[in-house]
C-alpha cells in the first residue's frame, strides 16, 4: 500500500483491492469484515483495526454514504493507511488501539460509487428500484429510523432527498444498523460527508437539544480548532438543525438515540469553487486536517469512558 497513489481518485475495484493488500500487509492489526451486500449485490466491507479481544469499546468512521462526494472516500483511504502506519510508532494511536477498536467503512454506498465512476458523476443516492416510479435510488442519509418520514426528507422517489418506503429499507443502511446493534459497544460514531465545511452533532429531526449538547458542542469546537490549525480552513459547527437545516432520518440522530454519545458528522472541503468535483490535489490536505479533528474526538472518547 506504500505505492498506492493517495492523491488520486480511485474506482471501487481499486479501493477494494487496496483493502485486501492492507489486510495482507498488516494482518495482525487489520481485518476486513463483510457486513452485508448492496441492492446490486456488491459486498459492503468494513476495515477493523484491533489488537485483540472481542467487542472492545470501539470507534466507527464511515465515509461516502453520498456516493458523489469523492473526497470523502479518498480521505477514508488516507486515514486507514495513517492508522496502520502510526500503530506502534505514534503514542496516541498505539494507546487507543491497545484498548479500543477502530472500524472504517470506506465505501458506504458501493452501488452509488460505482455509478458515479461509470454512468453519472453526480449520483448521490443508492441504486434501489422504487416500485411505481421510474426514478431510482433512496437518499441513505434520510433512511434511518430517527424521525423517519418527518420534515426535511422527501416522499418523492425522484427527489435527491427521497427517504425511501420505510426506515432501513436500504441494505446499505440496514447493514450498519445490524452491525452497530450486534456490536453493542461503539462509543463514537463519525459519519463523513463533503462539501460544506461543517462539524455537526444531533439532532437534525428535532429542535429539542440533545441531552449532551453542551459536551458535544465544546468537543466540536476543540476538534475544529485542531482542524483549522493546519491550513486555516474555516468550519461551522453545531447541531444539524441549527447549523444547516431540518433533516429527518439521518445517520447520527439514529446512532445518538442508540446510545452512542459521541455521534458526529463532518462536511469536508470545498470552499465553494468546485463542489463535489474537488481537484485530486486537495485530497491529502483535506484528509490531513480532518484527521486532526477526528483524533481530537477519539482522544476525548478515550479519556471519557461511559
Amino acid at each position: 500500500t506504500d505505492s498506492f497513489n493517495y492523491a488520486s481518485y480511485h474506482t471501487l475495484d481499486e479501493i477494494y483491492n487496496w483493502m485486501d493488500v492492507l489486510v495482507s500487509e498488516q494482518s495482525n492489526l487489520v481485518s476486513k469484515i463483510n457486513i452485508g451486500s448492496t441492492f446490486e449485490n456488491r459486498p459492503i466491507y468494513v476495515l477493523k483495526f484491533s489488537t485483540g479481544g472481542t467487542k472492545r469499546p470501539a470507534i466507527w468512521i464511515d465515509t461516502g454514504i453520498h456516493s458523489r462526494e469523492w473526497v470523502t472516500q479518498a480521505s477514508g483511504i488516507w486515514m486507514a493507511k495513517k492508522i496502520a502506519t502510526d500503530y506502534g510508532k505514534d503514542a496516541f494511536i498505539t494507546s487507543i488501539l491497545n484498548e479500543m477498536d477502530i472500524f472504517i467503512e470506506i465505501v458506504t454506498n458501493p452501488d452509488g460509487f460505482h455509478f458515479t465512476h461509470t454512468k453519472n458523476r453526480m449520483w448521490r443516492k443508492t441504486r434501489s428500484i422504487n416500485s411505481g416510479s421510474s426514478c431510482v435510488g433512496v437518499d441513505p442519509n434520510r433512511n434511518w429510523d430517527a424521525g423517519f418520514g418527518g420534515a426535511g426528507a422527501s416522499s418523492n422517489p425522484c427527489s435527491e432527498t427521497y427517504r425511501g418506503p420505510r426506515a432501513n429499507s436500504e441494505s446499505e443502511v440496514k447493514s450498519i444498523v445490524d452491525f452497530v446493534k450486534s456490536h453493542g459497544n461503539i462509543k463514537a460514531f463519525i459519519s463523513i460527508h463533503s462539501y460544506s465545511q461543517m462539524l455537526l452533532y444531533p439532532y437534525g429531526y428535532t429542535k429539542t437539544p440533545a441531552p449532551n449538547q453542551q459536551e458535544l458542542h465544546s468537543l466540536a469546537r476543540k476538534a475544529i480548532d485542531a482542524l483549522s490549525s493546519l491550513y486555516g480552513t474555516s468550519y461551522r459547527y453545531g447541531s444539524i438543525i441549527n447549523t444547516i437545516y431540518q433533516a429527518s432520518g439521518g445517520t447520527i440522530d439514529w446512532t445518538y438515540n442508540q446510545g452512542i454519545k459521541y455521534s458526529y458528522t463532518f462536511e469536508l472541503r470545498d470552499t465553494g469553487r468546485y463542489g463535489f468535483i474537488l481537484p485530486a490535489n486537495q485530497i491529502i490536505p483535506t484528509a490531513q486536517e480532518t484527521w486532526l479533528a477526528i483524533t481530537t474526538i477519539m482522544e476525548h472518547t478515550y479519556n471519557n469512558p461511559y
Partner: protein
Amino acid sequence: QKIFVGDQVLRIVTKDMEQVTLLKDLEELENLELDFWKGPTHPDFPTDVHVPFASLQAVKVFLESNNIQYSIMIEDLQSVVEEEKIQIIRSRSIEQMRN
C-alpha cells in the same frame, strides 16, 4: 453515460428569509431538474445549485426578476468532469509505469 455539457453550478446569495422561501419554492419545481448541492437555509449561508443547460434561462430569469444575487460557480460542469477524468487516467498511467 450522463453528460453535463453547458450545465452550470450557481452560487446564490439571499438577503432575507423571503428570498430563502423563494428558493425553496424553486426547489419544488421538479421539471427544472435542479440539484441543490447546498440547500437554501438562511440568508447567512449561500445556496449552490446545479442547473441543467435546458433550465438555465428559466432559473436565471427567476433569480433576476426576484432580485436574488447569484454568481456562476462552475461555468461548464462537463469540462470540469472531463478534467477530472484526465487527471485520473494520468495518475493511473504513472502508477502503472512505476509498477
